[in-house]
């Protein structure tokens, strides 16, 4: 029983970070219908910013979010204005090629600058844990989870209750209608890509103290983000949150009850099953 609860807990905590990665991707897709294959590389940039701030100025990785998030937001804005904006009406495969290319340029530029060495952040709490009812709760994971919850909550409130947030949602629902209603859809796209990039950056920063940092770290996370988003329903923030936690828990439990080496397999089988019965994802609406 202790093992079950322990792995359920780790699964939920790790799932929180997966959710955050998924939310960034889903916002970008929702507003622009662009599938961002550079998402994992944006996360990698977030990790490097965090690592740089820590190594140079000894800023705590969680505190450095206050710098990492705006920096990545601006980077996202720049990418959108210079590159993504030009292919908004292009064929989907062209958009995909562009984002894959951007990802490759980013990861290789970082490799050129920082070599492919693994960077490891070590803080005083890196491998510490709280003991609660005989369960050990990883300190860095718990902090990451709480920050994820706060940021997801704030983002949700922003999208529901502010004018800009509603404009973003309107653009996501119907770009043409939103434009007819006088919404500056170009600006909304820039905002959405910035937000999505910032989310990826935050996820990177949150992973930095518990994971390791190297230029190619993004690839597996891009893949994971897709599974999370497609599982939850493309464009749905609540869906991405749910998808993230579901995948975290599935991985964790299947490592215990199936086999550590097969946890990915279990995740993808579950993924296929859900898509078989709900092709639009858990909370997705089919857009036909």
């Amino acid at each position: 029983m202790a093992i079950f609860l322990q792995s359920l807990l780790s699964g939920i905590l790790v799932g929180g970070v997966y959710a955050l990665i998924g939310i960034g991707l889903t916002i970008i897709f929702g507003v622009m219908r662009v599938i961002n294959f550079a998402h994992g590389d944006l996360l990698m940039l977030g990790m490097y910013v965090t690592w740089g701030l820590f190594a140079l100025f000894n800023i705590d990785p969680y505190l450095s979010l206050l710098i990492t998030a705006p920096v990545l937001f601006l980077w996202g804005v720049l990418l959108q204005k210079v590159f993504i904006n030009r292919v908004l009406n292009a064929l989907p495969q062209n958009q995909i090629l562009l984002t894959i290319g951007m990802g490759l340029v980013m990861s290789n530029a970082i490799m050129l600058a920082f070599t492919s060495d693994y960077r490891i952040l070590t803080t005083s709490y890196t491998s510490s844990a709280f003991q609660v009812f005989g369960l050990s709760v990883s300190q860095p994971l718990l902090y990451s989870f709480l920050i994820t919850v706060a940021i997801t909550g704030a983002l949700f409130w922003f999208l529901q209750n502010t004018d800009t947030g509603q404009a973003i949602r309107a653009t996501a629902q119907d770009r043409d209608a939103a434009q007819l209603m006088g919404i500056n859809v170009k600006r909304m796209s820039v905002l959405a890509f910035g937000l999505g990039t910032a989310m990826a950056g935050i996820a990177g920063a949150l992973l930095a103290p518990t994971y390791y940092i190297f230029p190619q770290v993004g690839g597996p996370f891009t893949l994971k983000a897709f599974v999370v988003v497609v599982l939850g329903g493309m464009g749905s923030i609540v869906g991405a949150t749910l998808g993230g936690i579901l995948i975290g828990v599935t991985e964790s439990l299947s490592a215990v009850y199936v086999a550590s080496g097969l946890k990915e397999l279990v995740v993808y089988v579950l993924f296929l099953l859900i898509l078989l019965f709900r092709p639009a994802g858990l909370l997705g609406k089919s857009r036909t």
Binding site: S252, A255, G261
Partner: protein, 386 residues
């Protein structure tokens, strides 16, 4: 960049040497290594080892030109690398690749093309057990790793059970397979056998399962980063066996050594230690001065492999068959002791290399087993997390 300058310097050297050695072009040696990708940090130490060997070969007047290929840690890339080297560049011999999976894939091709291959640090047993004529291995194979660690643990205390946690790669599975067999033969009970997919951010569930079994020994086999991650999460969960045994690779890097919180009192096994001989100490000092890091066994193994190939080339020139002949019959005194490729226990062209067991004590690795080479006393059982 480095490649370009190397090329330039070899061209310049060749031009200068022209009057003396009319038409004697430098002998081409292929070097397949993991320059990018997840194992790149280890690949870098291997490149460094090779650089030092090239300096020394130059001093000895052995004129070689190294052609480098990156396998990114993937066997398919390694295969295209050797095809290019064997048929396009027509190299005389090949050093590398690093990982077991790549080295094994390349060995098959080397045999087929008839190119002598010297493997510095890949440990999958099968590589030199397939009766290949052209494949030579400097480092000790996986069974030596496992045997050394388990023997050490049995010498220090009376463990009854052991848990295996290893990545599901050629290296991880072959090392833990022989580890399990040897543990059972020595009367230990294997209470957990967990293969994991590398690159996951969370091994806590696997580790809590292992913790539930309460093993006396935890035997882990991982590359660079997972070694640190596994130990961090073991600390979080309070996993506390009598000893943590790390099977080389990721447990024998400068980075792991630097993470004092988690590396202290962990055992590992190594192909080479800097304090093993006078020549080794000199090599370590030179390496430290040039690259600003402690050399790992990977660097020493690559250095040795390149020196051995250099010696064979000195004797056999650019002729593949003659170089193979020299590799198969000669003996060399190196920083890894005496190197000789022999046939024994089903192995072919395999160097006998003893593997000492090290332990991290206060942020430094010290040799603790076997007793005759030990430089410090082992801390056993594991005193608990700080």
């Amino acid at each position: 960049m480095r490649l370009a300058s190397l090329l330039l310097s070899t061209v310049a050297a060749a031009a200068l040497a022209l009057p003396g050695l009319a038409g004697a072009a430098p002998v081409k040696i292929g070097f397949i290594n993991t320059i990018t990708g997840a194992e790149a940090p280890i690949g870098e130490t291997m490149t460094n080892g090779l650089e030092l060997a090239l300096e020394d070969l130059k001093k000895q007047g052995v004129d070689v030109k190294v052609i480098r290929q990156d396998d990114t840690g993937k066997p398919d890339k390694a295969i295209s690398a050797i095809e290019q080297l064997a048929t396009g560049d027509e190299v005389t011999a090949i050093v590398g690749p690093y990982t077991s999976a790549c080295a094994n894939a390349v060995a098959k091709q080397a045999e087929q093309y008839g190119v002598p291959q010297v493997i510095p640090a890949a440990s999958k047993e099968e590589i030199t057990r397939q009766g290949y004529k052209w494949v030579f291995r400097v480092n000790a194979p996986a069974n030596v790793y496992a045997k050394a660690l388990i023997d050490a643990a049995l010498a220090f205390g009376k463990p009854k059970s052991v848990a295996f946690i290893y990545e599901s790669t050629d290296f991880g599975s072959s090392l833990s397979k022989v580890g399990k067999e040897y543990a059972v033969a020595k009367g230990l009970t294997v209470v957990a056998d967990e293969a994991y997919q590398k690159g996951s951010p969370d091994y806590r569930s696997t580790l809590s399962k292992v913790k539930g079994q309460n093993p006396d020994l935890v035997f882990m086999v991982s590359y660079v980063a997972d070694a640190i991650l596994l130990m961090r999460q073991s600390r979080e969960l309070g996993l506390k066996p009598q000893a943590f045994l790390g099977g080389g690779a990721g447990f024998d890097t400068a980075q792991f050594e630097g993470e004092k919180d988690i590396s202290t009192n962990v055992f590992s096994v190594t192909q080479w230690t800097p304090d093993s001989s006078k020549a080794s100490m000199e090599f370590a000092a030179r390496y430290q001065a040039k690259f600003g890091k402690r050399p790992t066994y990977h660097a020493a193994c690559t250095y040795t492999s390149m020196m051995v190939v250099g010696a064979a080339v000195k004797k056999g020139g650019a002729d593949r068959a003659k170089v193979r002949e020299a590799l198969a019959t000669d003996t060399w005194q190196t920083i890894m002791g005496e190197v000789k490729f022999e046939a024994y226990d089903g192995y072919n062209n395999q160097n006998h290399n003893a593997m000492p067991v090290i332990q991290y004590q206060a942020g430094k690795s010290v040799t603790v087993f076997p007793a005759k080479v030990a430089t410090a006393k082992a801390v056993y059982p594991f005193p608990g997390w700080k």
